[in-house]
Each structure stands twice: as structure tokens, then as C-alpha cells.
């Protein structure tokens, strides 16, 4: 198509009424009101349809509203008038009159108000009268007042309102009181009264002001003025933020009420310029330049807080506010590094800060021990929870400040997870000494006592918890299982009367409706031992119904039997139907919770045998589709219990349903290794390295750390030297980086600092440096 033809075609489309109408409608909807007005006008020239006229009226109205919202009242007035003229539409007349007043066209506004083209209802009249009254007060134009009917309330009450305003400004309280009294409740100026009253009660506090202003209706012309008053009660930043949102005349009004002098106003002006300019250095310089005004102490505090964000401003600071201690300089440097996310240098600065604190005299620094402890805890925030450095920091911090529960709980949890039994027990004891009445610590003490098989001690702690919190469910469970454990011991040595006693004691702590079935199963075992087969059967039935599904019941049956050296088949033969179950997903996942509870009771070894009993049914149920999280929960549970057969089966099934993920690779290889890291093959090592990399990419640092732990544990075996190129070994590279970092850090120190750090350096770090060929004498 030629360009000319194309243009002609375009013109036809553009002028067709259908197209024009569609376009105008779209413009109206999208807020392009001017274009919509033009197009509807064009449509009306083509066809005088009433629809087009209505749409044009709507476009004018929306355009007027949008102009008024921007404060362009004259434009809004013009658009409203064009609508009235072109479309004969006079709706929203009160808004038009309000816009006229805002645009300063008082005479026209009053003329239209006195002879409106459409009738105004009473409510509209009242509102407009008040609005005109407020504008008259604000404008002070006697000639306009003279235009009003002399008998109208607007004209009659005007001098009274004006006198009240004048009396307030001049502080003439008597005239003010009498004028306020003279403004009647039906006066167009009645809303001026609460504003003046609120101004008079500025010293009485925000509640008083709010109460007085609460008399203003949402459409009151004095509402915006009234809303400024509570801001005078605000403090500090809130006040400045609110103040800066005001218009210039309102700001002057507030500034006068606050009693600001010229210097304060100049300061505020300069501050606004600094804010517009932006930047911490500009603010720093502004405060330094005006420190006399802000106060020496306040300015120093503020400028010091800015130092971590500024380069080389410490010198300027010291020139103006005096020298900073070396410790303080290190602290500010550490904060600056943290701000730049340079964690390595931040830690270095914090360590240097600690050194300086340790050397400081009591006159130079107070609360030294507490500060060091807090810094050591602060250093841990970017490190993994089980990092040896974290644990060392916490241990040192507690030696300086033993009053930190979170640190004890962290150490207890870390040593428990890492299976460092001695450290675990000793930190529980230390925590207990510091917090003997704390429920969280007492619960840890119960758990720690149970891992040592000190059931009486555990029961003692649980009882103590119940004296503090009589309905503590965990303590009740502990006590119940503690009696059950004791009953098992008595059962094995044949003291059946004591078994009765212990089970009865355990029953005391069984919560109604939350029975686990353990008691009933043990009572069944006791009944069977005493040859009461029918009673045993009935008790077993109860136990199964309380166990949370058949799979859990089967496991409990086997476990409880094994705990008292009874063959599980002896119990199962009483309930042969339990072997014919096909558990659903929920029952499988409930089993995880039951296994964990048993494991925490310290009967992990027996669980392997119990799991072997239920293994055929369990494996069958693992063919169901489970979610990724469910597979992980199961695998983690089997790994904890060292149930490697089931772990292997579980990961195989998971891999049939899921993509291979680093965590699954970890479980799969852990299952194959069965805790024997020396069996790690070249192929497994390769897969683990890849999985660790993938875990790092996925930001799954926990999995990466677990995988790296397996790799580290078996490091030094023959294949490690053959399988990988040294350049590709990330771990060795990371180690080298650490060594290099330490060397650089030591080299950057002054001779005395270097001497001190080398003196305090742990022997293992020294040997690491020497192994790496570093001369530690530098």
C-alpha cells in the first residue's frame, strides 16, 4: 500500500463515529479527560445523541475534579462552567461554589449561593454557609461582607467571630471569652469556636486538644487548621516530619506558636537545604557548624553516630569534639566495616576493640567484662550456629557475663546436636546454676539427666517445673515416661509388685484424652506376665486405640516388649490383625514423631530391632507418594536412629519420586556408608563435592556444611590425593585463604599488637600456620 493510501485509510478509521466513541470511552476510563472531552465534542458534531452529551458532561466533571485535587481551582471552575453551558448539567453545585471560594472568586460564589441554578438542600446550605464564613474570616474583605443580607447569620455573626480572632491574637482573654460565648450553636462560625478553644488549651496536652477538636465534623472548613494543632504536641523527629508537610503560611503559624526566633528559623531553613542536598557528610558539617546551637554534647553524640558512614571524618570530629579513645576508634571502625559488609575486617576491628578494653583502666572504660561478652556474642551473628568459633566465643562470653540465657541454650543445643556429651552435660549444669528456676533450663536439665539414664534426677527436675508451672505438659510427660522407664527396670528383674506401683504412679501424669498407649501396653505386658491373657488382650486393645494409628501402635507394641526383654511376637500373637495393616501417609509421618520421642528417651538401640519387626509393612507404605519435606523428615529420622536399611530404602523411594537434591544425595551416601566414612569411594566423594557446590548455589548452607563434614571426616584417605586437581579443591583453597587472611591481619598490626596476638594465639592456629610454611615470627 502506498503512503498516501495508508494515510487515507487511517483518516477513515479515525473519523468513524464507532472508532471515535470507543476511543473517547477509553480516554475517559484512563483519565485522559481533555482528549475525551474533545472526542465527545466531535461526536456531538456528527450526531446529537443524548448518550454523547451525558458522556461529555461526565468527562467535564471528572476533569474538574482532577484539577481541583491538584489545587487548580480556577481550572476546575472553568470546566464545571463549560459543563453547565454545553450539557446543561448543574449537579455538584456545592463543590463548584467551594472551588469558587478557593479560587478567590468570593463575589461570584456568594451571588450563585444566593440565587442557585438548582435548589440546594438544607445540609448543603449549612455546609456552604460555614464555608463562606470561614473564607470571609480568612480573606477579611469588608466589601464582600457588605454584599450579604444584613440580617443573615453570615453577616450578623461575622463581627463576633472576627472579634474573637482578634482577641485571641492580642491575648485579650476577656473579649475572647465573651465573643466565644456570643457565637451561637447555629452560627455559620460555630466550628471556629473549638479551634480557638483548642489553641487556648495547647499546654493541657494532646488529649485535651483532641477532645476539643472532636467537635469538628469531617466536612468542617476548620478541620485542616484544627489538625495542625496536635502536631505541636509531638516530639523530635515526628514533629519535624509533620511540620515539613505544612504549607508556608501554616508553618509560619506553627513557628509563631512555638516561639521560634530568627536563628531557629534560619537553622530550620538550612536544615531543609541539607536534606534536599542529601549526604551524611553535609549533615555532619551542618551539625559541626551549628554545634553551639545544638549543644556540644548533642552535636558530639550525633556526629559520632555518623562517623561509621563517613570516610576520614574522625580527624575533623576530634578537632571539634576532643580525642576519641583507641578502643572507641576500633568500635567505630568495626561498625563502618559492618556497614560496608566487610565481615572479615569488622571482626578484626572488634577483636582489637576487645584488646583495648582489656587494657583500659576503670577510669577509661566501665562495664568492660559485659562489653567484651556482648561483642563476642555479636561476632556470632554472621556465623553458622555450630561453628567452633561461635561456641568458643559464647563460652568466653559466659565466663565474663554469666547472665545470658540465650548463650547457654545455644551451647546446650549445639553440643547436644554434635553429641559432645561431656560439654553438653557441663553447660546444662552451668545454666542450671545460673537459672535454677527457669522452666526452659529445667527442661534441658530433665533431658540431660535422661541421656545419662539418671531417671530420678530427671524426675526431680520435672517435679520442680511442676511446682512453678503445674500444667506444664512436657514436665508431665517426662514424669510419666520416667515412671514407665523405672517400671521396665523392675519388670526385667521380676519385681512385678513394683511394676504395678510404678505404672500407677505414671498414670497420675497421663493427661486425659492425650494418652499415648504406652501405659496400657505396659499394663498388658504385666498382665501377660501374670498369666491374665484376656486382661492383657483388652489392655492391648486400649493401647492400640490410643497409639495414634495402627503403624505407631505396632511400633509401640514391639518397642515396649523389647524394653522388658519380651519377644514382640508374644504380644503380636494376641493381636495378629495388627500385622495386616496398610498405613496411610499421615500414619507414616506420625511414626516419625513416635520414633523421635523414643529416641529422646534414650532407647535408640532397641528401636532398630523394633523397626526391623515393622519393616515389611513400613517399606510397603513408603511406596506412597510423599512430599519432599515428608521424605526429608523420614530420612532424617532414620539417619538419627542409624536405621540405615530403612534410610537406604527411603532415599531410593524418594529418588523415584523427586529430582536428586543435595540433601537426598547426602542421605543416600550416608545410608551406604553406614557411619563408616572410610568406605567413601571416589565416585561418592565426587557426588558429594558436586552436591555441596549445588547446596551452596541454592544457599542451603546447612546441607552444604553437613556434606562438607563427611568429606572432611574422611580426608587423608588414598583417593583424596588422586581424585582431584589441587586447583579445583575449593576446601583447600578456602583454607589457604584463611591462612593468608591471618597472615595479612597480623602483618597489619603494630609490633606491640603483633606480639600480643602471637602470644595469645591458640597452639592449633600456630601449627596450622607453620604447616602452611608461614614463619610465625614474621
Amino acid at each position: 500500500m502506498s503512503r498516501k493510501k495508508k494515510h487515507a485509510h487511517h483518516k477513515v478509521v479515525a473519523t468513524s463515529p464507532e472508532h471515535l466513541e470507543k476511543k473517547a470511552r477509553q480516554q475517559l476510563q484512563s483519565g485522559a479527560y481533555k482528549d475525551a472531552i474533545n472526542n465527545y465534542k466531535r461526536l456531538l458534531k456528527i450526531n446529537q445523541q443524548p448518550d454523547y452529551l451525558d458522556a461529555l458532561g461526565e468527562a467535564y466533571w471528572l476533569a474538574a475534579e482532577s484539577q481541583a485535587a491538584k489545587g487548580l481551582y480556577k481550572e476546575a471552575v472553568n470546566l464545571w462552567e463549560s459543563r453547565a453551558h454545553s450539557c446543561q448539567q448543574h449537579s455538584h453545585l456545592p463543590r463548584y461554589i467551594t472551588w469558587l471560594l478557593a479560587a478567590g472568586a468570593y463575589i461570584k460564589a456568594i451571588r450563585i449561593f444566593n440565587a442557585p441554578p438548582v435548589e440546594l438542600n438544607r445540609e448543603e446550605q449549612t455546609h456552604l454557609t460555614a464555608m463562606i464564613g470561614a473564607h470571609l474570616l480568612a480573606a477579611d474583605q469588608q466589601n464582600i461582607v457588605a454584599m450579604l443580607d444584613a440580617d443573615s447569620p453570615l453577616a450578623k455573626d461575622y463581627p463576633i467571630a472576627k472579634a474573637a480572632l482578634k482577641a485571641y491574637c492580642q491575648g485579650d482573654e476577656n473579649t475572647l471569652a465573651s465573643s466565644l460565648k456570643a457565637i451561637g450553636s447555629r452560627s455559620p462560625y460555630r466550628d471556629f469556636r473549638p479551634v480557638l478553644n483548642a489553641l487556648l488549651s495547647l499546654d493541657a496536652g494532646p488529649q485535651e486538644i483532641e477532645q476539643r477538636l472532636s467537635r469538628l465534623k469531617p466536612d468542617s472548613p476548620y478541620l485542616a487548621l484544627g489538625r495542625m494543632l496536635p502536631l505541636l504536641q509531638q516530639e523530635g523527629a515526628l514533629f519535624i516530619e509533620s511540620y515539613q508537610k505544612l504549607g508556608p503560611a501554616q508553618q509560619t503559624f506553627v513557628a509563631t506558636l512555638q516561639g521560634w526566633d530568627k536563628r531557629q528559623l534560619r537553622l530550620l531553613g538550612d536544615f531543609r537545604k541539607i536534606q534536599l542536598k542529601g549526604g551524611d557528610k553535609a549533615l555532619f558539617d551542618f551539625i559541626v557548624a551549628n554545634k553551639r546551637f545544638f549543644g556540644e554534647q548533642e552535636s558530639a553524640y550525633f556526629c559520632k553516630a555518623l562517623l561509621p558512614y563517613l570516610n576520614k571524618a574522625t580527624g575533623i570530629f576530634e578537632r571539634h569534639f576532643g580525642a576519641l579513645s583507641q578502643a572507641e576508634k576500633y568500635r567505630l571502625e568495626a561498625l563502618s566495616c559492618e556497614h560496608r559488609k566487610d565481615h572479615y575486617l569488622a571482626e578484626r576491628s572488634w577483636r582489637l576493640y576487645i584488646d583495648k578494653l582489656e587494657m583500659a583502666s576503670p577510669a577509661e572504660e566501665t562495664d568492660v567484662d559485659l562489653k567484651i561478652a556482648l561483642v563476642l556474642r555479636h561476632l556470632n551473628k554472621d556465623l553458622p550456629a555450630n561453628d567452633p568459633g561461635v561456641l568458643h566465643n559464647l563460652e568466653t562470653s559466659l565466663s565474663l557475663d554469666p547472665n545470658d540465657k540465650a548463650s547457654y541454650l545455644h551451647l546446650i543445643s549445639a553440643y547436644k546436636q554434635s553429641n559432645y556429651k561431656k560439654s553438653y552435660q557441663s553447660w546444662v549444669a552451668a545454666a542450671l546454676q545460673e537459672y535454677p528456676e527457669d522452666i526452659e533450663i529445667l527442661l534441658e536439665a530433665v533431658a540431660a539427666a535422661r541421656t545419662k539414664n539418671a531417671h530420678k534426677k530427671a524426675a526431680g527436675f520435672a517435679k520442680k517445673i511442676l511446682t512453678i508451672d503445674p500444667i506444664n505438659a512436657k514436665a508431665q510427660n517426662f514424669l510419666r515416661s520416667s515412671h514407665v522407664a523405672h517400671a521396665r527396670k523392675q519388670f526385667k528383674v521380676g519385681r512385678l509388685h513394683l511394676v504395678h506401683k510404678e505404672l500407677a504412679a505414671a498414670e497420675q501424669w497421663e493427661r486425659n484424652g492425650q494418652e499415648s498407649g504406652v501405659l496400657s501396653i505396659n499394663q498388658a505386658l504385666l498382665a501377660l506376665e501374670e498369666n491374665h491373657k484376656e486382661q492383657a488382650k483388652a489392655l492391648l486393645q486400649t493401647g492400640i486405640s490410643q497409639s495414634g494409628g495402627n503403624l505407631c501402635a505396632y511400633l509401640r507394641l514391639c518397642t515396649e516388649a523389647l524394653c522388658v526383654d519380651v519377644k514382640p511376637s508374644a504380644l503380636v500373637s494376641l493381636m495378629p490383625e495388627i500385622k495386616k495393616i496398610s498405613p496411610n501417609k499421615t500414619e507414616v509421618m506420625l511414626l516419625v514423631a513416635v520414633l523421635q520421642a523414643y529416641y529422646e528417651e534414650g532407647i535408640g538401640a532397641l528401636l532398630i530391632d523394633a523397626l526391623a519387626e515393622i519393616s515389611p509393612i513400613l517399606k510397603k507404605s513408603l511406596k506412597q507418594t510423599l512430599s519432599e519435606t515428608q521424605w526429608y523428615n523420614l530420612a532424617e529420622c532414620f539417619l538419627t536412629l542409624e536405621a540405615y536399611d530403612l534410610l537406604e530404602y527411603c532415599t531410593r523411594q524418594a529418588l523415584k519420586q523427586q529430582d536428586s537434591k543435595p540433601l537426598l544425595v547426602f542421605y543416600e551416601i550416608s545410608a551406604t556408608l553406614r557411619g563408616q566414612q572410610q568406605h567413601l569411594t571416589y565416585n561418592m566423594h565426587y557426588r558429594l563435592v558436586e552436591a555441596a557446590e549445588e547446596a551452596h548455589d541454592m544457599n542451603d548452607l546447612r546441607t552444604a556444611a553437613r556434606i562438607e563434614q563427611i568429606i572432611k571426616q574422611h580426608a587423608g584417605l588414598p583417593f583424596a590425593d588422586t581424585g582431584f586437581d589441587d586447583d579445583d579443591n575449593d576446601f583447600e583453597e578456602a583454607e589457604n585463604n584463611v591462612i593468608e587472611g591471618i597472615v595479612n591481619m597480623i602483618k597489619s598490626l603494630s609490633p606491640s599488637e603483633r606480639k600480643k596476638i602471637l602470644k595469645d594465639m591458640p597452639p592449633e592456629v600456630k601449627s596450622l600456620l607453620m604447616d602452611a610454611g608461614v614463619d610465625i615470627d614474621f
Binding site: 481551582y73 480568612a138 503559624f253 506558636l257 562495664d367 556482648l374
Partner: protein, 100 residues
């Protein structure tokens, strides 16, 4: 953000008792049922510096640039004698708020 010391209007070296006193004073002025936002802010400020340990944590590690409005607000709010505006100032402020 304002510092908790600014919010409670207490000095950096204030002790537990004066911080608690300032907190209760602020709560009385901004009760939670009428000023839920301000109350939350006041409560959070109190919890951040109520004890010596918390104050030390704040003073050692708080790592955000200071709130300059707080300093300005502090200076502008203190040591002033309230005055009444002139008639002209009042009328101009009213005219401006009528256009808002």
C-alpha cells in the same frame, strides 16, 4: 527511624528508673486505645533500652545513621516561649488550610 532515647526523650546515660518514668509519662500522653501507633513505638523504644544490658547493646552495635530530624526537633522544641500569631498570620494559615 528515631532512636529509642529520642522517642522516650531521655539522655543516653539515663538509668533504669528514669527510663521507666519517661516511658510511663509517654504512655499516659499516648494511651494505646487512642494512639495505637505511637504507643507501639513507645513500647518498642522502652523494650530496646529498659535495662543497662539492652542500652549497652544499642550503644555498642546500633548501626544506622542517626535521625537528623530528631536533633532538629529536639532543638526547635526546647527553651521556647509560646507566642500567639498575629491576625494576618492566623488568617493566612486559615486561608491555606481552606485550600488544602
Amino acid at each position: 527511624m528515631q532512636s529509642p532515647f529520642d522517642i522516650l526523650d531521655v539522655a543516653e546515660d539515663a538509668d533504669d528508673a528514669s527510663i521507666k518514668k519517661a516511658y510511663l509519662q509517654q504512655v499516659r500522653a499516648y494511651p494505646p486505645e487512642r494512639y495505637p501507633e505511637q504507643f507501639q513505638q513507645i513500647r518498642a523504644a522502652f523494650e530496646a533500652i529498659a535495662s543497662k544490658r539492652q542500652r549497652l547493646v544499642y550503644q555498642l552495635f546500633y548501626n544506622e545513621p542517626p535521625h537528623s530530624e530528631a536533633l532538629m526537633g529536639h532543638v526547635l522544641k526546647h527553651n521556647n516561649t509560646q507566642q500567639r500569631p498575629t491576625e494576618a498570620q492566623f488568617m493566612q494559615a486559615l486561608a491555606e488550610s481552606l485550600k488544602a
